[in-house]
């Protein structure tokens, strides 16, 4: 079980997340959604070990003698990999950093991305696939996906999703993803967490989501994607017109 316990964090100004708690079981797939600026990406960064909480704890429940980043695969909301390197050079850097032997990257082959291509010359979608291939190649126990797959075209997105589903079936990692567009990636989620400006407002398994009073108020007839979109509208409305 991976736990965020009363986590507060920020970037030097006022906190972005304040006393937020979340737990994710191994093998569980959680979708985090909510309006812009509530700290969804920051929550992923905290889970990824890229942002230290100013208060609260992160407990991965793994042996502590090893850097937890060995077991985390984090695909951030930008394609921030070395653009000056070639795919095979980046693969080597990544593999050596994790202390892993060379293994094939089937996703790159399926997407016809040559190993000798320079990252900076690839399209944005291809860069995302390269990064995703790298993080899946380490067989992480926690996969963190920050929205970025929505920038990939439907064909490549299908390839990426197949790869994620294969990894999920293979190693049973916990998956936490941030989604604002409730498309194919959101369909993988077993649980939805709605993060609002004042913390987590909703945390329900997908099959019980319709019974949540907040969701019912947002309009059951809209379906889950419509309800979540409506919740984001409501959150913005509440922010503009605080009671």
């Amino acid at each position: 079980m991976i736990r965020l316990d009363n986590v507060t964090c920020g970037y030097g100004g006022s906190p972005v997340l304040s006393r937020v708690s979340l737990s994710v079981a191994e093998g569980e797939t959680v979708m985090i959604t909510g309006p812009n600026g509530v700290g969804k990406s920051s929550m992923l960064r905290v889970l990824a070990g890229s942002l230290v909480p100013s208060k609260g704890n992160v407990d991965y429940g793994w042996p502590e003698e090893r850097d937890p980043r060995h077991l985390i695969g984090y695909l951030p909301d930008c394609t921030c990999i070395y653009r000056s390197l070639r795919v095979n050079q980046l693969e080597r850097l990544h593999r050596e950093s994790y202390g892993l032997p060379r293994s094939p990257l089937p996703l790159l082959e399926k997407a016809s991305i040559p190993e000798s291509a320079r990252i900076g010359e690839l399209s944005g979608g291809h860069r995302v696939l390269v990064h995703l291939s790298l993080i899946l190649s380490t067989r992480p126990r926690l996969i963190l996906l920050d929205e970025v797959l929505n920038t990939v075209d439907p064909y490549l997105r299908d390839l990426a999703l197949q790869e994620i589903v294969t990894a999920m079936a293979d190693t049973k990692p916990a998956v936490v993803m941030v989604n604002l567009v409730f498309g194919e990636t959101a369909a993988l989620a077993e649980r939805v967490v709605f993060l609002d400006y004042d913390g987590i407002k909703l945390d329900e398994p997908v099959d019980q989501l319709r019974h949540n009073p907040l969701v019912q108020a947002a309009g059951i007839e809209k379906g889950i994607p419509g309800m979540l979109t409506e919740l984001i509208h409501i959150a913005h409305g509440e922010r503009r017109n605080p009671q």
């Binding site: 920020g10 970037y11 030097g12 100004g13 990824a48 070990g49 890229s50 942002l51 230290v52 850097d67 980043r69 060995h70 985390i72 984090y74 951030p76 930008c78 921030c80 990999i81 070395y82 653009r83 000056s84 390197l85 050079q89 080597r92 850097l93 990544h94 050596e96 950093s97 994790y98 202390g99 900076g120 990064h131």
Partner: protein
């Protein structure tokens, strides 16, 4: 070996940066020719070569020290690097060691050519010269590289932090450049002692260690605990923590600076 590709990448970047800066040396002969033939200057070629090389070596060290994460910043790959399971010590070593070796090699070559070697335009050797050489050639670049690395890690946004991190190398450089006798007198009261040469040399080395090396290293040493969290701390917070932590040792170093050399 873990992350050998990263080390290769850093060595390659260091060689490129070093080669680019050293290319400036090619400007020295034309400048000399223009000065002597066109402008009627009477400075020798050795004079031109010394100051041109001195400027180039200093510029090289500054360039190497301030470009530790140039590739990451131009590739927008800082966040990716921070997610890799590399220990802070490993990242620092991969970044600093190639650049420090390049600095040392160039500085030693400079010293061989201009201080003891071919052109012989500087004084001959003594133990104080040896201390000077060690400090200027080995210690000052090490402090400069460590300071540059920490400044780059901080996001390079605070001029105050830049001054704090440059101060140690500057202190060592000026301490050596001013000669050691005032420092020795001040630090150990040597003018009262009637010392044998051996004891004098030992005292000189000890006073340099305690009066220069240790104080110069302090502002950087106190930042080690802050750096340990570099990949998890936002740059703004990191900069603030660094300034707060290094402020007292930096002020102390500045006070010593005034006491010794002004």
């Amino acid at each position: 070996m873990k992350s050998s590709f990263m080390l290769n990448m850093e060595i390659s970047d260091t060689l490129k940066q070093t080669g680019t800066v050293l290319a400036f040396l090619a400007v020295i002969p034309p400048v000399y020719l223009v000065n002597s033939m066109r402008l009627g200057g009477d400075a020798s070629f050795a004079h031109h070569a010394f100051y041109g090389s001195l400027f180039t070596v200093a510029f090289l060290m500054m360039t190497l020290a301030t470009s530790m994460f140039r590739r990451e910043r131009s590739d927008d790959a800082m966040q990716y690097l921070k997610t890799l399971p590399l220990s802070p010590a490993r990242v620092a070593a991969r970044k600093i060691i190639p650049r420090l070796f390049a600095s040392w090699i160039v500085a030693v070559l400079f010293a061989i050519v201009f201080f003891r070697g071919l052109l012989l335009i500087h004084r001959s050797g003594s133990v104080l010269d040896a201390v000077f050489t060690v400090n200027v050639i080995l210690l000052a670049p090490a402090l400069l590289m460590a300071g540059g690395f920490l400044f780059d890690v901080s996001g390079r946004k605070s001029p105050v932090l830049a001054l704090m991190l440059a101060l140690p190398a500057l202190f060592v450089f000026i301490a050596a450049g001013n000669g050691w006798f005032p420092l020795l007198r001040l630090f150990l009261g040597l003018w009262r002692w009637n010392m044998t040469p051996g004891l004098f040399h030992a005292a000189a080395i000890l006073s340099v260690a305690l009066g220069v090396v240790l104080p110069a290293m302090l502002p950087l040493l106190v930042l080690a605990p802050v750096y340990r969290e570099w990949n998890r701390t936002p740059e703004r917070v990191l900069t603030r923590k660094m300034i707060r932590r290094a402020s007292i040792p930096s002020v102390a170093l500045l006070a010593l600076f005034v006491l010794y050399f002004l």
